[in-house]
Symmetry: C2
DNA sequence: ACCACTTACTAGCAAATTGCAAATAACAAG
DNA sequence: CTTGTTATTTGCAATTTGCTAGTAAGTGGT
């Protein structure tokens, strides 16, 4: 219709999730520029069409440049838009969620980063509360039929650690033996020959994901 | 960083799905303007921040104005972006999928609309093949644990019709008696007192969704 | 009126899956 | 060598699912 179309601001926001003390945490960063300068918010930034081949690339770049992080799993959540979310006017933000092990975040805490357990991840600026809640909802759903929670762990992990990751994301306890049986039947992990973790009373076998990327199951965990 | 940020074109595309002869169909529309004028593509259009409160509103508006359709269920799929998808350069399109009963589409076939069964919904312009395939993937997943397929049907439907809708979306046959049992246990539909369909040999009880909106189950269908 | 045919709907049991609890294993600490 | 703790396996009960047959309620034909 009209040639001079209003082109809204396009940004990306990333809900970085990790596991700490058996609980899911959201990583937030102190903003250094207005609006909401000085407040902690989701890691985000502008999409730069001239340098980002896609919004996914923009998300990865922002995560790397602003927080020094690289997610083990980075998936698009959805796009949030409207006039309400940003005081600068109508805007659209493509939200992503990124999963990575605690150690990766701990290394970068210098960069104004903070990890919030879920119950304290509220009161964020913009519509970031909504984005976080949608991200968790999606992850919970997806965790029920995929290897998603494994991306919160280091490459090598024990079955117990994996179960705790599932429990943390799903928000409910799982039966130990039933979980082992299922994970075994689904063939998603493979033992790391000879490697055992000595963190607990009895040493535990270490495993890694069979495939580097997320896999979806036919059944539910 | 830079004050003069490039703002990419923002559009919406809607994957309209319906059920015809027990199969899922994608509704496409003949484009009247370049690029790809004269070719059938997904229904889509520009987001107009001055008139659309959100991209969801834009999707509903485009669907209504360009095709005269109102989806019974309209949910955001994801955003597609990059230089490859549109010859006009870097663009971003927020894709939605909309479900509605066949009758609603049949009424509007005047508007250059066409319904394609899934196996013939290929060779679409832009990245619309990808969008369609992602939409179907999402719907398949979601159908397994929600009332999504019911939105492909008229308000009143029989249990057989509902099963056929699930089968069409899931792409596999379901056991009749097990399906009835499950739907009954999940309490998603309620009988329309006294109303029966006489379309088949033995008249069948008509039902409607218990809730107007989509519901997600704990279990899988 | 009776019969064959079709689809709706119900019932019952076998097979598969899941939940639970006990048994066993491997180590650390005292 | 005993106690304590976590890992891992095993066996069975409880639940869920798949399947098959039976009954119900119409239509259309003879």
């Amino acid at each position: 219709m009209n040639q001079e179309l209003i082109r809204p601001i396009l940004t990306v926001d990333i809900v970085v999730l990790t596991l700490h003390e058996q609980r899911v945490h959201v990583v937030v960063q102190k903003r250094d520029k207005p609006p909401h300068a000085g407040h902690f918010a989701l890691i985000g930034g502008y999409v730069r069409p001239e340098e980002d081949v896609s919004t996914a690339a923009a998300a990865a770049r922002v995560l790397r440049d602003k927080a020094g992080l690289t997610a083990r799993l980075l998936e698009q959540l959805m796009t949030f838009s409207g006039t309400e979310r940003d005081p600068r006017g109508w805007s659209a933000s493509v939200a992503y969620y990124g999963l990575l092990p605690y150690q990766d975040v701990a290394q970068q805490v210098r960069r104004n980063l903070k990890m919030l357990p879920l119950d304290r991840a509220t009161g964020l600026p913009f519509d970031h509360d909504t984005i976080v809640s949608k991200a968790l909802e999606r992850c919970r759903r997806r965790a029920a039929y995929s290897s998603l929670p494994a991306f919160l762990l280091p490459i090598a992990f024990t079955q117990s650690a994996l179960r705790h990751a599932y429990e943390a994301v799903l928000g409910r306890a799982l039966n130990d033996s039933a979980f082992r049986r299922k994970i075994d039947e689904l063939r998603v992990i493979e033992p790391l020959a000879g490697n055992v973790s000595k963190a607990t009373a009895r040493p535990a076998q270490l495993y890694r994901l069979g495939r580097g990327h997320i896999v979806e199951f036919d059944r539910t965990v």
